[in-house]
């Protein structure tokens, strides 16, 4: 069980959240070429280590959060608001 320290609600279990994917990619502009959208949708990294992810607090404050999670250990290092840029540990 991952526990996520929501900046609004405090420490909650992952069951209250919905995983919303990679928070390090940016959607291409509306007029970007098809290749850019292909890469945005399919060409994703699958890092072993620290990763910044979107988690939606669907059963709490209904806010999107940026969670810095280790993909091997599931350790959660930082939980930030959507507008913030959390620091990612080097290892």
């Amino acid at each position: 069980m991952i526990r996520i320290d929501c900046p609004w609600c405090g420490m909650r279990d992952e069951a209250e959240f919905t995983y919303r994917g990679d928070a390090t990619v940016t959607r291409p502009g509306a007029n970007a070429p098809e290749e850019a959208f292909h890469d945005f949708v399919y060409a994703r990294q699958n890092p072993r280590g620290w990763h910044v992810e979107w988690w939606y607090h669907s059963s709490g404050c209904r806010q999107f959060l940026k969670v810095v999670r280790h993909t091997m250990t599931h350790e959660v290092r930082t939980v930030a608001r959507a507008t913030e840029t959390p620091e990612v540990p080097s290892e």
């Binding site: 609004w8 609600c9 909650r12 069951a15 059963s59 404050c61 209904r62 806010q63």
Partner: protein, 197 residues
């Protein structure tokens, strides 16, 4: 129990009398007959909405995880720039109209009276019963009177408001799911016994 529409159907799920285990400290279950209004401050207008509520009702809108006001009108934080306002049941739509008149264009007001129901769980062992149902830390060191948490109970969205140290909890759920919610809650309360008055 005299409960008006739209909460009578939910109240009917509770049969008056004592249920479950006997000889211990039973908890009390009831349905509160209330009006519920959701207030959402419009973008960048949270301070204006808070000032309007302060002027109209005399209290500050609560910060995250907390409530303000009293039984006549309580405000519960439910999300950033979003609150529930709860008052004893009055004329249909009157609370929503009054809140909208107070906040004007600083906020959007949605009447949730029919959409949500408030179930009250109280008594010395209420925390013990509720702890079986939810994942929020209800220990007095982490929770207490005037605290609010939105979470899941029995896989259903529920907002918990601790009103006093008895303790008394208001459990705010979608009316359409209230029957399933009540089945889970009464099942959890059978271990201590529960009284419906």
């Amino acid at each position: 129990m005299s409960v008006s529409e739209p909460h009578a159907a939910v109240a009917a799920l509770l049969k008056p009398g004592a249920h479950g285990a006997t000889g211990g400290q039973p908890v009390r279950l009831a349905v509160r007959d209330v009006d519920i209004v959701q207030l959402l401050a419009r973008k960048g207008r949270a301070e204006d909405a808070a000032a309007a509520i302060k002027a109209a009702y005399g209290f500050d809108l609560p910060s995250p995880g907390r409530s303000a006001g009293g039984d006549a009108l309580a405000a519960l934080w439910v999300q950033p720039d979003g609150w529930f306002l709860i008052a004893p049941r009055g004329a249909e739509g009157a609370l929503a109209r009054a809140v909208k008149a107070a906040v004007g264009d600083a906020g959007s007001v949605i009447d949730q009276t029919h959409g949500r129901s408030v179930i009250t769980l109280s008594g010395a062992r209420a925390t013990w019963v509720l702890a079986k149902e939810c994942r929020v830390d209800l220990h007095p060191a982490a929770f207490g009177p005037g605290r609010v948490a939105s979470t899941q109970i029995a896989h259903l969205a529920c907002t918990i408001h601790q009103r006093d140290a008895a303790p008394t909890y208001d459990l705010i759920v979608f009316t359409t799911f209230a029957k399933s919610f009540m089945e889970s809650l009464t099942h959890a309360a059978e271990e201590t016994g529960y009284v419906v008055s």
